[in-house]
């Protein structure tokens, strides 16, 4: 028998603290596979953010910094400027990146920092128990929108990928999803591309990933995958919004 699927080597053996069925775990694995395939574990430096993925450093066998809430792109900037030859990636949630860390994400992109951001959009604050995120859908109930998010009071979901694609400094901007195998495969391809572009010095790359939060959505893990497809994808179209080859797509 030949092993055809195994835990990536760049990942540790620790059982994650993520809830059952949370797709954070899938995103982790895709990053791990990418690091393995590109053979860059020895020169990769990860930046963990504050959110459910705060302990990401426990799961990757590469150097890591734990950043303050929202500031991972600034921390990554500091690292990359000191070690331009290293591969630096941040792993951030939507509260972290699209709310408190909006400025840091946008300005890292504006500067064309040669880093990669893995952006987990689960339309909610997972770690703090299910508050509204800027990415929360209209009508979606959270602990801070108990009647569902209403446009009149809290506006409409922010689309980070589309926004970042307007910046000349951004080289690669894509959004994919983790809700089924074909999409996971595409997500993996995008993550690998983003790291590859970084290796080539192309500049700022970001992959937004639609992800689940069964716990705070109040759904089973399988219902959650379904909801990504039926509801989230309507608001968050998938695809590449900007590539170094072609520039912004519309």
């Amino acid at each position: 028998m030949k092993q055809i699927f195994a835990k990536p080597q760049s990942m540790t053996d620790k059982v994650s603290h993520y809830c059952p069925g949370c797709t954070h775990g899938i995103a982790h694995r895709l990053v791990g596979e990418t690091i393995d395939e590109l053979g860059i574990a020895d020169r990769t430096i990860g930046v963990a953010s504050v959110g459910c993925s705060v302990l990401a450093y426990e799961y990757f066998d590469v150097d890591f910094q734990q950043a303050s809430h929202g500031r991972a792109p600034a921390v990554a900037t500091g690292i990359k400027r000191v070690h331009p030859e290293s591969i630096v990636f941040t792993y951030q949630g939507d509260g972290d990146l699209a709310s408190i860390g909006t400025a840091e994400a946008i300005h890292a992109a504006m500067r064309g920092e040669n880093i990669t951001i893995i952006f987990i959009n689960n339309a909610i604050y997972g770690m703090t128990g299910g508050q509204m995120a800027p990415t929360t859908l209209l009508g979606q109930q959270t602990t801070t929108t108990p009647e569902g998010r209403r446009f009149e009071e809290m506006g409409a979901p922010i689309r980070m990928a589309e926004m970042l694609a307007t910046l000349d400094g951004a080289a690669y901007v894509a959004r994919f999803s983790l809700h089924d195998i074909p999409n996971i495969t595409k997500a993996k391809r995008a993550i690998k591309k983003s790291f590859q572009y970084q290796l080539e010095g192309k500049g700022f790359t970001i992959v937004e990933l639609l992800s689940t939060c069964p716990t705070n959505w109040g759904m089973s893990p399988n219902e959650s995958l379904e909801w990504v497809q039926t509801d989230m994808m309507k608001v968050y179209p998938l695809g590449e919004f900007k590539t170094p080859e072609e520039g912004e797509k519309k």
Binding site: H17, C19, L55, M127
Partner: protein
């Protein structure tokens, strides 16, 4: 009389609500009460515990460091809290999930196969109420009636249909202790 109660288990085992019901019931009975939760980093799963104080006197410290009653729902909690129980205290162990024995000899030990009994009642989630029944029977910290009253107050009206099931679970836990006596 002051009861210092610690309840611990996996997140999702109803550890917190056991504590809340005791607290509420204590208040209904005119006692001084306090409830303090403690969570791990996990949103779901992981360990969780809560500390309840029910007393005839004003409560100084609501923090429980040496419980007089410990309710242990899973193995990691047994390992963590067994050493802290006050000598002469009572320890309740969910024997459905904990094969290991309590090693201390200065405690009154009650084993409750809470998940098994809950399974028999057709609702895994009710294991905590089975356990609670046993605790009430053994300690008499509050009455079963007060717990039922508390349930009514805590559950939203459209969930009141669950009360009979909860009462059954309490009874089963109680019966276990009484049988032992």
């Amino acid at each position: 009389m002051t009861y210092e109660i610690l309840i611990a288990g996996f997140g999702g085992q109803g550890v917190m609500s056991m504590g809340m019901l005791l607290t509420y019931a204590g208040m209904l009975e005119g006692k001084y009460v306090s409830w303090i939760p403690s969570y791990g980093p996990e949103q779901r799963g992981g360990t969780a515990n809560c500390a309840v104080v029910i007393s005839d006197e004003e409560i100084g410290s609501p923090v429980v460091t040496e419980p007089t009653i410990a309710v242990i729902m899973n193995l990691p909690s047994l390992d963590k809290f067994e050493p802290t129980v006050s000598s002469g205290g009572k320890i309740f162990v969910n024997s459905s999930l904990i094969a290991k024995d309590v090693s201390r000899s200065d405690l009154l030990i009650t084993k409750v196969p809470a998940n098994d009994i809950a399974g028999e009642l057709g609702a895994d989630r009710i294991a905590n109420m089975v356990m609670l029944g046993a605790v009430l029977a053994e300690t008499r910290v509050v009455s079963e009636e007060s717990i039922i009253e508390s349930l009514k107050a805590v559950l939203p009206p459209h969930r009141h249909n669950l009360i009979p099931l909860n009462r059954d679970a309490l009874e089963r836990g109680k019966a276990l202790v009484l049988a032992k006596e």
